[in-house]
Symmetry: C2
Subunit: 391 residues, 2 copies
């Protein structure tokens, strides 16, 4: 975890290197090109472990056009503010919001989850119930907000509502996940809502990934405000919404933002009611452009296509002799291996980025739109070169 | 603070509006243009109240080139990770870091301040001492982290170190500011460090704005690691560093990031040690490009120019019969008015965005590079049209 540089350069050397006015345009570009070539890129199709994909060009252009907008000071940006309302409206459509119009485009799922849990704490909720498969941002929020976490036992890879019922107490937050990070599974939000009904309980749904997938599956799975106990939902345009970073989303049944607002008299609106101050809001315009470009029907086609490739990957992997951990529900596939970390590094050496689930002894592939059948075949060919049972 | 829409549209209407695959490229662009025209823009020169300015084109291009990079998962971005180290090196140069190489480019000063105070809390520091002129993000951090804040009395617009000495106790965080938001003044960091020496104390300096100004003033003012008690510093490339949002900076004498790290087994590095998860890192490349483009000498020229225009504004405002609150130290000028909010709105109607200091009954102008002498003259002409004593 250390990042202390071991270079022999002293700060004085560095300072004198940088002191004199620097490089011209071409020299800077050449340096940037070198660093660019060291990075991995979604355009290659070889990032298989992330919940992001390359946005279409109209979306990218919207981002670039508005890259200086900052809804941290919305008084300067009435146009961008309106686009944020439009994006929130669409998120309300995805989550079966009715008269609920509270929401923000924020920096990502982490900020969204922190805002929800922070607001709930300010409303007097004291303890978090969730599962071991919750996203790490909820654990981060618990540390930050100094709230205890109790892990509810799981059953068939999701929260067991009976187990929740046995342990839940009043004044608690329940964080359920619609599209778990490791498996893409969905906690039984309906049944969890039933349990919550008997307690003073704040039910938050982390649908950062699943929120742009579940509404478009053939099988209807409730995860949103149609479950009466659900109070807020994380749902990120920069995952399956095809928007660039930073575009997380948080929507709520009531105004949770006022619970966390602080005075900021120098701003035109006079207060700040998200976690961050400065908000890069090119992503608001980009999210809006994506919604206009795809529409719900366009997203449905993306999901249909990703699910087809997901089943394709699962079947082809089995045909090639690999073991799949669970039947995919969303567009995530886990392949069981003896040593996930070593397999991950072996794949990285071949130019593939996958993520791992140490708990399940698997590597995880998120079948985003750039993970097409041709990519899958190339990947499986390379996988077979690795001795996954001995690595 | 409510943002519930009053439109008669129900969610069902909205949903059906968005359902069918949407608009083509040109239609989307036309909509974006309309919203763009409603926003204010730095290019106009008329945003006078914000600590941001238009970056040069090579910096903008660097941002666009790397807009998909995400140091929330640095294993995918070894090139961008190296640029972040380079930016941190430069920040160390500005803050007189010696062998201290810990730092991150984060989303802004708010995240930077929260990280420092959160890390300090994890190290056992319990209470925050600061002044009323501290940035609101510190108050936000205190709410979030549930830490008490004691306001130290001020003397001549900065923290009074004698008053601090009378009230400070062991296990405390002192947040001093180098470039206060309202006035651009600098708490006496040297003397505050002397006071801290006798206590178990975490001294954090918020130099979000001043960090790229103070090193280039003729008068030398200590605010960095040359003061032995200073443990961490917020210093933002996206303010006077000429980088686009989101580019805050946090540097520290020791590794404060490990105190706040949480496990994230699915990421290539396996942990997350900033506040956010996803990190828009085009701004890392942009900050690096800005540093290469200007170099310290380039920043010195920018500061020289801004300070010249600052004195010009202060003198010309007085010549025109306005009262200046304090002699400017950094590039911030406050003009006393009877009703700052009304004056702000009157100016907004004339297309000028200023910020206000209700506490000091003033409007505040941040003399960023786009606030040139011609802009100042136009602004003063419009100011004279407003009856600032009766509005």
């Amino acid at each position: 975890m250390g990042d202390r540089e071991t270079a022999s350069d002293t700060i004085d050397d560095i300072w004198s290197e940088y002191y004199h006015r620097g490089l011209d345009y071409d020299a800077i570009k050449a340096l940037l090109d070198n660093f660019y070539n060291e990075d991995m890129h979604y355009e290659s199709g070889r990032i298989l472990g992330s919940m992001y994909t390359v946005p279409p060009s109209v979306v990218r252009e919207a981002f670039f056009k508005f890259y200086q907008a900052n809804l941290g000071n919305p008084g300067l940006y009435p146009g961008t503010r309106k686009m944020e309302r439009k994006v929130v409206e669409f998120l309300m459509g995805l989550t079966h919001g009715k008269d609920n119009y509270y929401g923000r485009v924020v920096s990502g799922g982490t900020e969204a989850n922190i805002i929800a849990i922070w607001a709930a704490r300010e409303m007097g909720y004291k303890k978090i119930y969730t599962t071991e498969d919750v996203h790490f941002s909820v654990i981060k929020a618990a540390h930050l907000l100094r709230m205890p976490v109790e892990y509810v036992p799981m059953k068939e890879y999701v929260m067991d509502p009976d187990a929740l019922n046995e342990t839940l107490v009043d004044d608690s937050i329940v964080v359920a996940t619609a599209g778990t990070t490791p498996l893409g599974y969905v906690d039984p939000i309906d049944k969890i809502g039933e349990v919550c009904k008997d307690y003073r309980c704040y039910l938050h749904v982390d649908a950062a990934f699943g929120g742009f997938v579940l509404p478009f599956l053939k099988k209807k799975i409730n995860f949103g405000f149609e479950v009466p106990e659900v109070k807020s939902i994380t749902i990120d345009p920069h995952k399956m919404g095809m928007a660039p970073y930073p575009a997380g989303g948080i929507v709520s049944r009531e105004n949770i933002f006022s619970s966390i607002a602080v005075d900021a008299p120098y701003l035109i609106e006079g207060y700040s009611d998200t976690l961050l101050g400065t908000r890069q809001s090119g992503s608001v315009a980009a999210s809006y452009a994506a919604i206009l470009y795809f529409g719900a029907e366009g997203y449905r086609k993306i999901v249909e296509n990703c699910m087809e490739n997901t089943y394709y990957l699962a079947n082809r992997a089995e045909e090639e002799g690999f073991e799949i951990l669970t039947r995919p529900l969303l567009n995530i596939v886990n392949i069981i291996v003896d040593n996930p970390n070593r397999v991950k590094l072996a794949l990285l050496n071949m130019g593939w980025a996958v993520s791992t689930n140490p708990k399940y002894s698997s590597i995880r592939i998120v079948v985003m739109p750039h993970v097409k059948k041709g990519v899958i075949e190339e990947f499986l060919k390379d996988m077979k070169k690795i001795d996954t049972h001995f690595l």
